[in-house]
Amino acid sequence: MKDLENKELLNQEEVTEVVEVEEAKALAAIDLNKEKARDKRAKIVGAILSYTFLTICAFFAFLPFYWMVISSLKPEYEYRRSVPTFFPHEFYFKNYAAVLSQTDTGSSGSFLQIIVNTLVVGLVSTSIGLVVIVITSYALARMEFKGKNLLFTLMLATMMIPGEMFTLTNYLTVSKWGWNDTFTVLILPFLVSIYYIYLLRNNFKQIPNSLYQAAKVDGLSDAGYLVKVMVPLTAPTLISVTLLKFIATWNSYIWPRLVNTQSWQLITNWVTRGFPDRGAKLYNGLYGTTMALTTLRMAAVCMVSLPLFILFIAFRKYIMHGVSKSGTKG
């Protein structure tokens, strides 16, 4: 309807202003006032529409987080009200205590043990991984050696291949080597991230050659140049890579589950043990039932999500930078 109206008015305007300018002057004056009012209205309506749309979308984007947090703070009977409450009537922190003291898995991974596992694996694999990535991308960007291009092409080609194709063989390999239940097995296969090498190599390449020549004149070795010039220059990318690599460890689920037993697994595995199919029935200390308690699950989920948000708030710029970079360069 509105569109039609607009269309007519537009045509009318055409007519009045272009063809019959002289005659329509008086009329146009009135129309103009109307036009102006409508423009203003349109602007306000546009702004309201934009904000409304964004707010609705943001609401739905945020709802799961909100629901997760408030559910984790409700007692189970409140969660099970047929009409959901959007704010807990009673804050029930016992859920967290119950999850933290969850001992049903006992020696096979207390919360503390799992946190330590995750931190060790995360820190070690991130730091060693970073060194590998830096030296490899440096060689690919700045050094000449036979077969370099072939190597680089091969590396890029593997990016097309789904990781699942590696998983099975790697699983057999590490099983064969008896690496099950070690941290090595969680670290080693993921040290090389071709994608980050590619990213960093491009970053290195963008550094003008003149800088390298200048450094040479100033008597800097290759390694010195790498450490003293290139690394600082690409610091934002390196920080992003570090963060994303750490987050990846935090979120890894399949591989640790496949190769390690519970006490050697990582945080996501621990959390999922409390999830629907079998694990949830283990929580029974609190309510004396075998019910899969949603509130407990949500508390566990909150705890595993929280560090990610802290990381995000602290390093928002770098994380978004890293992510968007990975977008434009893919």
């Binding site: 546009g46 060689a139 063989t169 689920y253 629907p276 990610l308 992510v323 968007s324």
Partner: protein, 343 residues
């Protein structure tokens, strides 16, 4: 250790000037030293597995878990592929066709949908000034989440708690829909409605849940990319369009979208490729068995299922098929995007 090696090299150098050339050559190749760790690791964990997957897929009835001393497979050929495609693996569990179909449904609905929504949101973001950063942050949040954890949260939205005669709560979604007079649906429970086409299950209610999740989790990255792409569009085009009396929707569809079409097509390609590898979220929402009897199985889920069953040959064949599917889509996408992208 390093000192010794060095000393040795020096000695060689001074004693045999004739080997200087060789030494020079080695020196010129020292780049290999830098890439060595990566090359070794990749040889073991990337290149070898690729070769092994291609080889293993053709070992018929290959089971890495098998009698010691025997080779673990009965011969060479395409039997693994045939049986995987026919769903005739003799071990029960997920069917490949079902997984393929599910994966396609999730991907082909959720990726365009979330790209479209991301475009609208990004455009909305560029149109506002106040609170722009705050909105941006909120929209980015889902990127950081753990698919399993958030899958569980989504599951709570849709779960009905109670018996058919005594429902305790219908869940948030059903409560919301009841405002519009829609009857509660058992979204993810055992009574979740489904259509059946031959051997294919179409659990549409579960599909909706999975797609809502995929759209939600796919938005942040797309918004981030599209928003920065939009900001890189020369403002003059918008001015020109204003002068040319283009309406807002004309600007969006005839100017903005084509101008950022490289980004849109990039997002579609990566989205489709990522969608083909969907797994964790499904486990998060529907449990480790991916619905009832793997009716929500995905291709990756299919592969893992056979890895865990020790049916190595099927797992390899499945992963090669997944690879082939991804390659086909990448190819199609490249061709299509070459035709429709404007730079």
């Amino acid at each position: 250790m390093s000192d010794e090696t060095l000393a040795l090299q020096n000695k060689n150098n001074s004693q045999k000037p004739s080997s200087k050339k060789f030494w020079d050559f080695l020196k010129s190749q020292r780049g290999w030293l830098f890439v060595l760790p990566a090359v070794v690791l990749m040889a073991i964990f990337t290149f070898y597995p690729i070769i092994n997957a291609f080889v293993g897929a053709f070992k018929e009835n290959y089971q890495a878990l098998h009698l010691e001393g025997e080779k673990g497979y009965t011969g060479w050929g395409f039997e693994n592929f045939v049986r995987v495609l026919k769903g005739d693996t003799g071990t029960g569990g997920a069917s490949f066709m079902q997984c393929l179909f599910n994966t396609f449904v999730f991907t082909f609905i959720s990726v365009p949908l979330s790209t479209l929504l991301a475009l609208l949101i990004s455009v909305g973001l560029t149109r506002i000034k106040v609170l722009q950063k705050a909105y941006q942050t909120v929209f980015f949040l889902p990127y950081l989440t753990n698919a399993l954890a958030m899958g569980a949260v989504f599951a709570t939205f849709f779960t009905i708690v109670g018996t058919s005669r005594n429902v305790e709560t219908y869940g948030l979604m059903n409560n919301f829909l009841s405002l519009f007079g829609i009857k509660p649906v058992d979204w993810i429970g055992s009574g979740s409605p489904a259509w059946h086409w031959g051997s294919l299950n179409v659990p549409w209610a579960k599909y909706i849940v999975a797609i809502i999740y995929e759209v939600w989790s796919g938005l942040p990255f797309k918004i981030l990319i599209l928003f920065s792409a939009l900001q890189n569009v020369n403002k003059q085009y918008y001015d020109a369009a204003k002068i040319d009396s283009a309406s807002k929707s004309t600007v969006l569809w005839k100017i903005t979208a084509p101008l950022i079409s490289p980004m849109l097509s990039y997002l579609l390609i990566t989205g489709l490729m990522g969608g083909m590898k969907q797994y964790s979220a499904i486990v998060g929402i529907f449990g480790a068995d991916m619905g009832i009897d793997y009716d929500m199985g995905t291709m990756v889920g299919y592969i893992y299922q056979y890895i865990e069953k020790g049916a190595t040959g099927f797992a390899f064949a499945g992963s090669l098929l997944l690879f082939a599917v991804i390659m086909v889509f990448t190819g199609i996408n490249l061709i299509v995007s070459k035709k429709t992208v404007h730079y």
